[in-house]
């Protein structure tokens, strides 16, 4: 844990590779972030202990997604698959890192994914994961980038801004990811007056950092409206403060998972 910094310093990115949840997208996203933030990647490939254990049960079968057909499921085969995927992930990371001149490390652990990630996240500033379940839970000490299968972060970046301390962190993170393109600032401030006040506040911050932005007030401060606005604005990545009240929505995990772009929960 490196502590909070107002200007969103990220030195180490933990890439949590969950073989069941589209790791390729997470890998590319981590490389993109590392390039944007000049950070190093620590990749963690987790062999899910529960998965191995279920494979030992003789009556458990596996259904192939591609064909909806059942097949035998045994632990030896699963272990072999996991080893193959781990090796493949390593090669992919190596190639990606070489292409973008990134520093990286890679290790394989066996255990409960959430616990292993939480453990490893202590030494990281940011966690990249393909699975909401594997991410550090709300209240965890570091930022999290959630990337679903098929997603890839890109500019323009959008940020939810409600004036809170957490939103300031999010604004700082988004400014780092703007990449020269105007930032999309989604103002979650209730009425029009509040939105204008938020815009002034955000503009002051961003202009100070030399970042251009487009300001879009949200008609109501809800996670649902935020996601819809981010989608309509064509956002390539959505940044939200990790302690934002917007995330108190009980359906938050599902809403964010269904967004068209990766989501960065900034701390």
């Amino acid at each position: 844990m490196t502590g909070r910094r107002r200007d969103f310093e990220v030195r180490r990115i933990l890439l949590a590779l969950d073989p069941a949840a589209g790791p390729a997208s997470a890998l590319s996203a981590a490389a993109w972030l590392a390039s944007q933030l000049d950070a190093e990647i620590e990749a963690l490939f987790i062999e899910d202990i529960n998965l191995l254990r279920s494979a030992e049960l003789p009556f458990v079968r596996r259904m192939r997604r591609s064909s909806a057909m059942w097949e035998a499921f045994d632990s030896i085969a699963v272990e072999r698959e996991l080893r193959a995927i781990a090796a493949e992930m390593r090669r992919a990371l190596e190639a990606e890192a070489e292409r973008a001149s990134l520093r990286w490390s890679y290790r394989v652990v066996r255990g409960h994914p959430q616990r292993e990630v939480s453990e490893a996240a202590r030494e990281a500033d940011l966690v990249v994961t393909a699975s909401w379940g594997a991410a550090a839970p709300p209240g965890a000490p570091n930022s999290v980038l959630i990337v679903r299968d098929g997603q890839a972060p890109r500019q323009p970046a959008a940020v939810a801004y409600d004036g809170s301390a957490s939103a300031e962190r999010a604004l700082a993170a988004a400014a780092r990811l703007a990449g020269g393109e105007p930032l999309i600032v989604l103002l979650a401030g209730g009425d029009e007056t509040a939105a204008k006040a938020l815009e002034r506040q955000a503009r002051e911050r961003l202009e100070g950092a030399g970042v251009a932005a487009t300001y879009l007030p949200l008609a109501g401060a809800s996670l649902g409206r935020l996601c819809a606005a981010a989608g309509e604005a064509g956002s390539g990545i959505l940044v939200i403060g990790a302690e934002s009240p917007l995330l108190e929505d009980e359906d938050a995990a599902r809403r964010l998972a269904r967004l068209g772009c990766p989501v960065l929960l900034a701390r």
Binding site: R53, L57, V60, V78, Q155, G234, R254, R258
Partner: protein, 825 residues
């Protein structure tokens, strides 16, 4: 019964009759610079009328065939007429081939007003370039991304919801849905941990069974759910495709509308542009190129194709325009001459390119033929060249019959290749074909090709000579002036022109005609110009023309010189003095290239008792042609009718061209052969100072032959080489006198009396000249005068008949098979 044959003595021709000189004094100009160009065709009135008719008539099948010997100006004259007629006719439409978006194997032909095809092509090329930037821009827009994200989110949500429902139900039953790299599985859990085999076995059997049943039920539910995924995916693809179509339509619409507006007067193009628009919309990913695979670029899902256009470079060739006929800037209808009329060059062809080892083609590789270029106008083709090209003639006829140009590859037409090929839409054909060729081809085609008369109904039969009237001589002079100017030659003075006119008569082989073989006239003008230069003359004079003619002959007369040389050396036996029985000098013409010369030949005859036959030795050894044999058989007819009408002709005679080792044909030596035969029968020697030419009929009349000038000159050259004695001369048919255009040296010899030309009308005139003995006419008592040739011949034949009777066995070969000659006088 033979008619009475006159036997009046014959006088030698005067020098004036031997050559019709053209008097320079008849011309009013000093040199040809003073003459205007001749702007009309001379000597070809029939042709002019035929071409006017052929060009004017628009009915089907009235194509022209210009027939005549080479060098008569067929191409030039026909070309000039066609060009003049074409100027008055409208410029035909442009044609191009474009892709058929429904069936690419059948490219569509588009007709456009003249000059519109090339701009159309440029517009379409420009459209493709515009689309390359407009379509990616549309797909990169925020609007597109947002809408796409919404659609994808909706479907992702549906997937996730369905899975989560199953997951939720499982959770309620303390069962976890495990997501593995390869698929999904259910496992029992306790306190968020999957129950291992050891713990599971510790459960009661009922519990274990319940868990297994629950998992079984969940598996069925999951299977049902996952089976819906492909349907949802299909719906997703359809929605995205619809979005893509909408976006592309918007990006493309205004560009296509601009083109439609620009070409609103052309309904065919309107439907083509609509087809292009539909195709672009269907294949928008191709325009995204590498951008389609770039970071953040939407992946467009197209059935059967990888997003972003796949691995191969996008192929925009199908939006190109293949301009087949471009009449931009043309004035009048086209006149096309195809010098190399292969099938492909006439009808058009389809080319192929090798791609990954296979031959492929498309409408861009359709190549126009001469018919395309000439469509709406005139196409000239050389008949011989056309007939020599495989399948070209048959395809041309088929095209004329069907009145549409259908391009197909030869391999396809013959079913030789089975590779994918094209069937381009045929183009309507409205063209006038003019075939140019020699007469033989025309007559052969007329006789043996049943389609030919129906397709080429207008013959333009070129004359190879024209009348030599004063008016025509003037026109000839203007033609010479025109040729000289066109060829940038020196002008000719009046003498030079007169000499060329004489040369034209000599080429025609007739003192009353002029040759229309204008290529030879141009050639002699060019050569005379050279000699004028050599002689330092500023104008071409009669001497320059004469020098050109002499030099031309000299360049070609090596064989003639060798023949004369061998005669002079006694290798070839020809006498030019003395007398001999059954031996006469015949004359033949040898044609080597474009040079002809006369050659004397010794013809001999021997007679004996026989069964009334005249044996043509040339024929027996197959050196004689049918015409020669015909001439010899006529002799037998003449003899039989005149001397043996009431008794058997008990004669066996042989005739031969001595020292002839090549073929002999023609009947121009038949009079000479008859003289030799009569001489042999009458035992009357023939003066060897004469040579003879002319054919003979069964009544003993001497008939005209060809090549009289060359034959006379051939014998004259031999006599001159041996020394002219004043006794030498040539017997020619009287009807050939008008053809005489002899060399000046021959004419001068005749004027001096050292060489004579006798015009002979009958055999009796000829034999009297040759033997110095009158032929004799049958008197009232039925007999010929005593001592006359005819009396002696008849007596000899009577003797043969009596002898045969005495043998008592009729006209049968006395010494067969190895009998020696009998009855030699």
């Amino acid at each position: 019964m033979a008619a009475k044959i006159p036997g009046e003595p014959v006088e030698a021709l005067t020098a004036e009759a031997l050559c019709r000189y053209c008097d320079p004094g008849m011309f009013s100009f000093r040199n040809t610079d003073e003459l205007e160009d001749l702007d009309r065709v001379i000597g070809q009135e029939r042709v002019v009328e035929a071409i006017r008719f052929g060009v004017g008539i628009k009915s089907e099948g009235y194509n022209l065939f210009a027939l005549g010997p080479p060098g008569t100006g067929k191409h030039t004259i026909v070309g000039q007429f066609l060009a003049r007629a074409a100027q008055e006719e409208p410029v035909p439409d442009d044609w191009c081939y474009v892709n058929n978006f429904v069936d690419a194997q059948r490219p569509e032909a588009l007709r456009l007003p003249p000059g519109r095809a090339a701009p159309f092509r440029v517009d379409m090329d420009g459209l493709v370039e515009e689309l390359k930037s407009a379509i990616p821009a549309a797909f990169e827009s925020d609007d597109y991304r947002s809408r796409r994200q919404l659609i994808e989110s909706e479907f992702k949500e549906r997937n996730e919801d369905a899975l989560e429902k199953v997951q939720e139900r499982a959770k309620n039953q303390a069962i976890a849905l495990m997501r593995t790299p390869m698929g999904l599985a259910f496992a029992p859990v306790k306190d968020s941990e999957v129950i291992g085999p050891a713990d599971f076995n510790k459960l009661s059997e009922e519990e274990q069974a319940r868990i297994k049943d629950d998992i079984e039920a969940l598996q069925e539910e999951l299977q049902e759910t996952l089976r819906k995924v492909p349907v949802w995916d299909k719906e997703l693809r359809a929605k995205i495709r619809e979005l893509n179509r909408e976006v592309t339509q918007f990006a493309v619409g205004h560009l296509i509308d601009a083109l439609k507006d620009k070409n609103r007067d052309l309904p065919d193009l309107q439907s083509y542009f609509e087809a292009v628009q539909a195709d672009v919309v269907d294949n928008a990913p191709e325009f995204l190129g590498s951008a389609g695979q770039g970071e953040g670029m939407p992946q467009i899902v197209v059935p059967g194709q990888a997003p972003g256009g796949g691995g191969e470079a996008p192929d925009f060739q199908r939006y190109r325009v293949n301009v087949i006929v471009d009449n931009a800037g043309a004035e009048g209808a086209p006149v096309v001459y195809e010098d190399h009329p292969t099938l492909g060059n006439v009808i058009g062809r389809i080319e192929y390119t090798a791609r990954f080892g296979a031959l492929t083609t498309d409408f861009n590789l359709i190549r126009a033929g001469a018919l395309h270029r000439a469509n709406g106008g005139y196409l000239m083709l050389d008949a011989r060249k056309l007939l020599l090209q495989p399948f070209a003639w048959e395809e041309l006829k088929r095209t004329l019959r069907s009145k549409e140009i259908r391009v197909e590859s030869l391999g396809q037409a013959l079913s030789l290749i089975n590779t994918v090929s094209l069937e381009p839409e045929p183009i309507p054909l409205a063209v006038k074909i003019v075939l140019v060729g020699d007469r033989m081809l025309y007559y052969l085609l007329s006789a043996h090709d049943p389609e030919f008369p129906a397709l080429f109904k207008v013959p333009a039969d070129f004359e190879d000579r024209m009348d030599l009237s004063p008016e025509n001589a003037e026109l000839y002079a203007r033609l010479i002036a025109t040729m000289a100017r066109r060829e940038a030659l020196k002008p000719l003075d009046a003498g030079g022109v007169a000499r060329v006119v004489e040369y034209g008569s000599r080429l025609a082989g007739d003192a009353e005609r002029l040759s229309t073989h204008f290529r030879s006239i141009v050639d002699i003008l060019r050569e005379a110009d050279y000699w004028a230069g050599q002689n330092g003359n500023g104008e071409i004079t009669a001497d320059d023309v004469h020098a050109a003619v002499e030099a031309k002959i000299h360049r070609s007369d090596r064989v003639r010189a060798r023949v004369l040389e061998e005669i002079a050396r006694g290798t070839i036996l020809i006498d030019t003095d003395g007398e001999a029985v059954g031996q006469v000098n015949g004359l033949s013409v040898m044609q080597l290239g474009d040079f002809a010369f006369g050659q004397p030949s010794r013809i001999t005859s021997r007679v004996r008792l026989g069964k009334g036959e005249v044996v043509d030795i040339e024929r027996q050894v197959e050196l004689g042609g049918p015409l020669h044999s015909k001439g010899v058989l006529i002799l037998a007819g003449f003899l039989g009718a005149r001397f043996a009408s009431e008794r058997p002709l008990s004669l066996s005679a042989t005739l031969v061209f001595e020292q002839s080792y090549g073929g002999v044909d023609g009947d121009s030596a038949s009079s000479a052969e008859l003289y030799a035969l009569l001489s042999a029968l009458a035992e009357a020697p023939i003066k060897q100072s004469f040579a003879v030419t002319g054919s003979v009929n069964q009544h003993g009349q001497v008939q005209a032959i060809g090549g009289a000038n060359e034959k006379i000159e051939g014998f004259f050259d031999l006599c001159r080489a041996r020394g002219l004695t004043g006794e030498q001369g040539v017997l020619i048919p009287a009807s050939n006198v008008k053809h005489l255009m002899l060399r000046r040296d021959v004419v001068e010899a005749a004027r001096d009396g050292t060489f004579r030309i006798y015009p002979v009308a009958t055999i009796d005139q000829g034999i009297a000249l040759l033997t110095g003995v009158p032929a004799g006419e049958r008197g009232a008592d039925g007999t010929f005068p005593e001592g006359s040739i005819n009396r002696r011949v008849e007596a000899r034949l009577d003797h043969f008949a009596e002898t045969a009777r005495a043998f008592g066995r009729g006209p049968k070969e006395p010494n067969e098979p190895n009998g020696k000659e009998g009855g030699e006088a």
